[in-house]
Amino acid sequence: MDFFKLLELVVAASLINNFVFTRFLGLCIFFGVTKKMETAVGMSITFTAVMVVSAAISWVVYEQIMIPLDLTFLKIIIFIGIVAAFVQSADTIMKKVSPSMYYKLGVYLALITTNCIIIAVPLINAGEHYSFFESMAFGLGSGLGFALALLIMASIREKLEVADVPAPFKGLPISFIIAGLIALAFTGFSGLITL
């Protein structure tokens, strides 16, 4: 296991192929929770944790069960099932073990199932035939990248509250244009490292 390979994967997944700005996934949540810094932080923490764990579980199921049994054609159904089951159980366990944390982050757990990134990461892992640790590194990188995107966006949108935006552009349209400008900045990362 090469540590630098893993580090490269994390950097590549979080900056160069940032899910929000270069692959356009998870946009619904991206625009949904970035209105306030507080929700953005909550979502980032929950999301990164869920991402790493579900990438690991999906890898085990895919490599150890689905490939030997020749069931790879069912991967969409199985991955969405794994994610939904994991999110549901995390929700239940958190409510029981740590109610205070549940009240802070529980809302975001429920939202995560409708996030495209959560299903895209296992699918990409399976497509690229990453090893176990590579899958986790990729999950971590994706989670961090998403968190970074959320935090940048939230800090800008908080300022936007006091800005004088033309009426038709209030709310979502202007957020899209801002996201476009950030995406432009993120294209600067392309070619930072080559895998």
Binding site: I77, G81, T114, C116
Partner: protein, 208 residues
């Protein structure tokens, strides 16, 4: 429920304009930017979504009496995932060149909020025929949005439509870059809000 009294045409129209997935509801946004750098990809994904949306609505509506409310979410997910797998395999076999570019996004239809939302809000409470029209309307609305966005992006970014060159000279490269997708959707959304406010007295898309 008042929604049941709407005629089929009204249901279609509601999906296409009133509650247009992308410009009005602002959900299922990911593909609206990811695959709209060319008309061909945009149309292919739009049609796939239309198929999945309609079939899911019909299926859920047909099964609505047998689904226990407590386990409805996993069941909806399974039904959606089933149809997505069908379209995924069909595309992989019959439309390989397109599939290579947008394959990942086809698979991701499974996590679309719009499909899930229609199953939950409409199909699980209504008869099969209205559900069919609701799904079809939503699907057509999505397809229209994809066509509009990819039309502008391909025309401005490459000077082409469906791969045929129309404008010579230097195109606006930014429009086919990732950033251009966000800009195009933002500007179009703002434009539709403006039309809505100016001519229909609406308040524009509520947004998030």
């Amino acid at each position: 429920m008042s929604i049941q009294k709407k005629s089929n045409w009204e249901l279609l129209k509601n999906g296409m304009f009133g509650e247009n997935t992308i410009f009005r509801m602002a959900i299922s946004l990911c593909p609206s930017i990811a695959v709209t750098n060319g008309l061909k990809n945009g149309v292919a994904l739009g049609i796939s979504v239309m198929f999945v949306q309609t079939m899911v609505n019909i299926t859920i509506s047909a099964m609505r009496k047998f689904i226990h409310p407590k386990i409805r979410i996993p069941i909806f997910m399974l039904v959606i995932a089933g149809y997505v797998t069908i379209i995924d395999m069909l595309m992989a076999t019959y439309a390989r060149t397109i599939y290579r570019e947008i394959g990942l996004y086809i698979q991701i239809i499974v996590a679309f909020a719009s499909i899930f939302a229609r199953a939950e809000v409409f199909a699980s409470k209504n008869k099969i025929v209205p559900s069919l029209f609701d799904g079809l309307g939503m699907g057509i609305g999505f397809l229209l949005a994809m066509i509009v966005i990819s039309f502008f992006r391909e025309l401005l970014g490459k000077g082409e439509l469906f791969g045929y060159s129309l404008i010579s000279g230097n195109p606006l490269l930014i429009m086919i870059l990732p950033a251009g997708g966000f800009l195009a959707v933002g500007l179009l959304m703002g434009f539709f809000n403006w039309v809505d406010m100016k001519f229909y007295g609406g308040k524009g898309a509520s947004g998030v």
